[in-house]
Subunit: 277 residues, 2 copies
């Protein structure tokens, strides 16, 4: 059984830069890439191990960084993705930041200020659980900022992500595309399953009421901010295992292209030059 290649997954999920983008055409289930759930699980396991090895070299090399942006409606599986895709990666060299409503300190600056402060250092993989995209998603839907300000943000975000890319940070953006029906099931699970109750927030149901507005905001954000330097990937997320497997495939492939390696001092170190007695 052959796993789908990095190119297969990438080409299937990417929102092509510079093209118009129709979110309603994107599936929330995607049985095609993997034979079945078992194949997806096997693939995920191998990729998680490979990501761990690549990250070790990235950390040693300290010349490049990877920023993984995760966006999605409640229950789309942002935390679950982090848990499974990086299950085998050492916590050393992973920086995770979950963005919530801005604090007073954060709100007193421009919206990219707290984002910039959280970008990964060279050698690290940074993971954003939500991100600056909230400033063109929930902020737009709930009208937390003036229309003109939001309108400017798409270009500002592209410029910001270009700065990161040009400075050695690869940017990967995943929209976890969960279906409306599947979200309803998962929200209800947060009440029926005791170990999920802590995640339940009645306000999530308010966002659910605004589903079409959110989808429209996502569509615009993806269309305007899927760039050649920082493309958006739309990940069918009704199946958790397949979702994780697809994301792992893209992260592994990207890291392989970045090709981090163990640094070798030049001139080479010689044992006889040092006294270890």
């Amino acid at each position: 059984m052959s796993h789908p290649s990095f190119a297969d997954v990438r080409d299937e999920l990417i929102a092509k830069p510079g093209k118009s983008f129709d979110l309603s055409k994107r599936p929330t289930r995607h049985p095609k890439l993997f034979e079945d759930k078992k194949e997806a699980a096997t693939c995920l396991k191998r990729d998680a191990a490979a990501i761990d090895e690549l990250q070790d070299k990235l950390y040693a090399e300290r010349g490049q960084a990877l920023l993984v942006v995760l966006q999605g409606m409640d229950c789309a599986g942002k935390s679950g993705t982090i848990r499974k895709v990086f299950a085998l990666t050492s916590p050393l060299g992973i920086t995770i930041r979950a963005f919530k409503a801005p604090t007073e300190q954060e709100a007193a600056r421009d919206y990219l200020w707290r984002i910039h402060g959280a970008v990964p250092a060279k050698g690290h993989i940074g993971i954003f659980d939500r991100s600056h995209y909230e400033d063109v998603l929930v902020v737009k839907v709930r009208k937390f900022a003036p229309k003109e300000a939001i309108e400017r943000r798409y270009d500002e975000i592209n410029a910001f992500e270009k700065l990161l890319t040009d400075s050695g940070t690869r940017v990967l953006k995943f929209m976890l595309n969960v279906g409306y029906e599947e979200q309803g099931i998962r929200l209800a699970e947060r009440i029926s399953e005791p170990h999920k109750r802590w995640k339940f927030n009645p306000r999530d149901l308010e966002d659910r009421q605004l589903w079409p507005d959110f989808m429209k905001a996502y569509e615009t954000a993806v269309e305007r901010c899927s760039t050649t330097h920082a493309p958006w990937y739309i990940v069918p997320s009704d199946s958790r295992t397949r979702r994780n497997a697809m994301i792992a495939r893209i992260i592994r492939g990207t890291l392989e292209n970045m090709a981090p390696d163990w640094p070798q001092p030049d001139p080479p170190l010689k044992l006889e030059d040092y006294d270890f007695s």
Copy 2:
């Protein structure tokens, strides 16, 4: 084959608060607690899985935090410990901070300023790779601060750690006790093994020249700062697997005592109160 209990390991490794402490009496190898390396590896694997589960609850509960302080000479295995003990723990909810020489900004404040800024939030396990103890170790040995200032620090550190403990953060401090001979072997490996070369720093050999001074500084720090609220554990570290297994045992046991649990809303949530259609 029965694994050593939490109490066995704790009692064996603790530096008893309020007692005089003789580091030279503490072994760097410790074959007694585990039958053999295989038993240590099995025990470590189980404990790493248990730590992952406990951490999930800690994260959901958000009422307590755990701070793990790792100190030791170069090559004692601080990174390796983090990698193996938290191998199965989700990076969500783990905060790692490695302290190096202070930056200009940090040096312009008191030595606990940057430490305080890095303490774990409730729900998190924070890991310090080096810590405020450097300010009574390398700073003392290399005379980077006046003697009287350093002399005050032991009490200041105890007061600081008391504040953390009283505010819901359990503090565990591990001195990774590696032997002089074993360190020499490991430093040489950093030259002979290509994937370790990036870790080699000729200055580590300078610290090695000051070994007796460092041991004396460790002895004083442990004696004066092993408190009932934040005890020091001296971990024989010439064997990597046993070292990791002992530390995992203590961390697991401590988390079990902290007894985090899935929060249950009061009054209980009812499915029929919400509309998931």
